[in-house]
């Protein structure tokens, strides 16, 4: 579904991704963890070309992503949920949800709204359809952002630290929605520090440090018998 081949990314002199190779299968739930500055956000942002790799290739469904085809490939195949939600503040929740379906996926207003209400039900916020995002809590905004991603009905959804900007008490409501989603046949790639979520949902966990993958495996293996010392050290610090 997603394949990254020898991806390198430089920001100026800073070598952020070092020859990264990563494959995500259809329907797989992949969780990327690692210390800050390890390049995990950059890695996930390369998957939809929000960052264009300095060298190497990214394939989506076998099609090589280029600056030319990215708009179309992203529109048809990939959605994203951001740390800062990035809802459109000048539109109501319903408009946020129907904009792309109507303008990009050529759905009628009626169909787009039906779709929007369907996903608002899934994230439990149907009653918020006509309010503006600024009136919502962080957790609610992120649930709306997830509904917006779902409205595109893509097979892949990328989550870039979806709970890192949230108050502790609203983190769980967002994680609950994501756990619900994980039961569907959607390919999910999640950058997160939520180890409980990773353990519960991930098919596979990848640990990144210094722009490289230094350990990967199924959650059980990962949390009980990680071999790399650095990983063990990280996990012991983050799991209390």
């Amino acid at each position: 579904m997603i394949r990254m081949e020898n991806v390198n990314k430089f920001f100026g002199d800073l070598h952020v991704l070092k020859n990264l190779n990563l494959e995500v299968a259809e329907g797989e739930k992949l969780v990327i963890i690692g210390p800050s500055g390890s390049g995990k956000s950059t890695a996930i942002r390369c998957m939809n070309f929000l960052e264009v790799p300095t060298s190497g290739s990214v394939y989506i469904n076998g099609e090589k992503l280029t600056s030319k085809n990215r708009t179309k490939v992203v529109r048809d195949s990939i959605s994203m949920v951001f740390q800062q939600f990035n809802l459109y503040p000048h539109m109501t929740v319903l408009k946020n949800l129907t904009l792309a379906p109507m303008k990009l996926h050529k759905k009628s207003k009626k169909d787009a709204e039906e779709l929007a209400y369907h996903y608002l039900d899934i994230v439990g916020l149907r009653e918020k359809a006509h309010v503006y995002p600024s009136t919502l809590s962080g957790g609610q905004q992120q649930r709306i952002a997830i509904a917006r991603a779902l409205c595109a009905q893509t097979k892949i959804i990328l989550f870039d630290e979806p709970t890192s900007a949230l108050d502790p008490e609203t983190i769980q409501e967002v994680l609950d929605v994501m756990i619900k989603l994980a039961k569907e046949n959607i390919t999910m790639v999640v950058v997160t520090h939520e180890m409980g979520f990773a353990r519960q949902v991930a098919d596979r966990i990848v640990f990144m440090e210094d722009g490289q993958i230094i350990e990967e495996g199924e959650p059980e293996h990962f949390f009980t018998s990680a071999e790399n010392d650095r990983v063990k050290q990280f996990l012991s610090k983050i799991i209390r």
């Binding site: 390049g39 179309k72 992203v74 951001f82 990035n86 990009l104």
Partner: protein
């Protein structure tokens, strides 16, 4: 000195009132077309200034710096006399319209650039991640948000543009200031300096004051809205820093 505000002088201005109104009309018409030109140039070069392509940013920068760092009067003379000498004169009004449009286009471009620049990066990324192309992203997401920020300084530019029609005086234009000048120095109409310039100034004021009031009202309501959202903006900024 006592004749400065004499009844006779006022009467003279009143008799020739249509001259002043015609000058105002010329100024207004020129300002209107120059405004349209400056808006088009401002949007084009403002968008170029926020482009990811270095060459477009460069071209926009050169235009803005060249225009902003030379006097309008010079640009006006250059266009008028250079063309006149090459035998392609296009008339004072057309010259004025183009000069004013190009001059204020540079300022409009800066206003547009600042407006777009004030939109958080996350908004661009959200539109990109949904698969909007450049035009869709700007049209549906970015410009509707930046228009509120752009409008007040734009209205101020309109005020400046109207006042700057007075520069046409240097090439002997038909604008309000030129007309006023011909009036006070004219053989049959001359002498009524004080009333003539007062009337001319009043006409400018009547047009410009509502516009600048509108601009500052917009600006204040924007500031109010900003102080209400400053908290969310702060958490946003922190998040951006925290993000690797």
């Amino acid at each position: 000195m006592e004749g400065l505000f004499s009844l006779e002088a006022w009467e003279k201005v009143w008799t020739f009132r249509s001259t002043f109104l015609l000058g105002l009309l010329n100024s207004g018409r020129m300002a209107l077309f120059a405004l349209l030109l400056s808006l088009v140039l401002g949007i084009i070069f403002g968008l170029m200034a926020t482009s990811s392509k270095k060459i477009l940013r460069g071209i926009s920068r050169v235009y803005v710096e060249l225009i902003q760092n030379t006097p309008l009067v010079l640009q006006l003379c250059f266009l008028y006399y250079a063309l006149a000498f090459s035998g392609n004169s296009m008339g004072i009004i057309a010259t004025g319209t183009i000069s004013l449009g190009v001059y204020h286009g540079a300022y409009m471009s800066e206003v547009v650039r600042a407006g777009i620049g004030s939109i958080p990066k996350g908004q661009f990324e959200a539109a990109d991640s949904q698969g909007f192309n450049y035009i869709g992203k700007m049209y549906y997401v970015i410009l509707p948000q930046s228009i509120k920020i752009i409008l007040p300084p734009m209205a101020n530019q309109v005020v400046n543009l109207i006042k700057n029609t007075s520069c046409l005086y240097i090439i002997g234009g038909a604008d309000l200031i030129s007309v006023t000048y011909s009036f006070v120095t004219g053989a049959t109409t001359g002498g009524a300096y004080a009333p003539a310039y007062l009337v001319s100034g009043l006409l400018f004021f009547i047009v410009c004051f509502p516009l600048s009031t509108l601009a500052s009202t917009w600006e204040n309501s924007l500031k109010k809205r900003e102080s209400r959202t400053v908290e969310t903006q702060n958490t946003l900024a922190e998040g951006m820093v925290a993000k690797q």
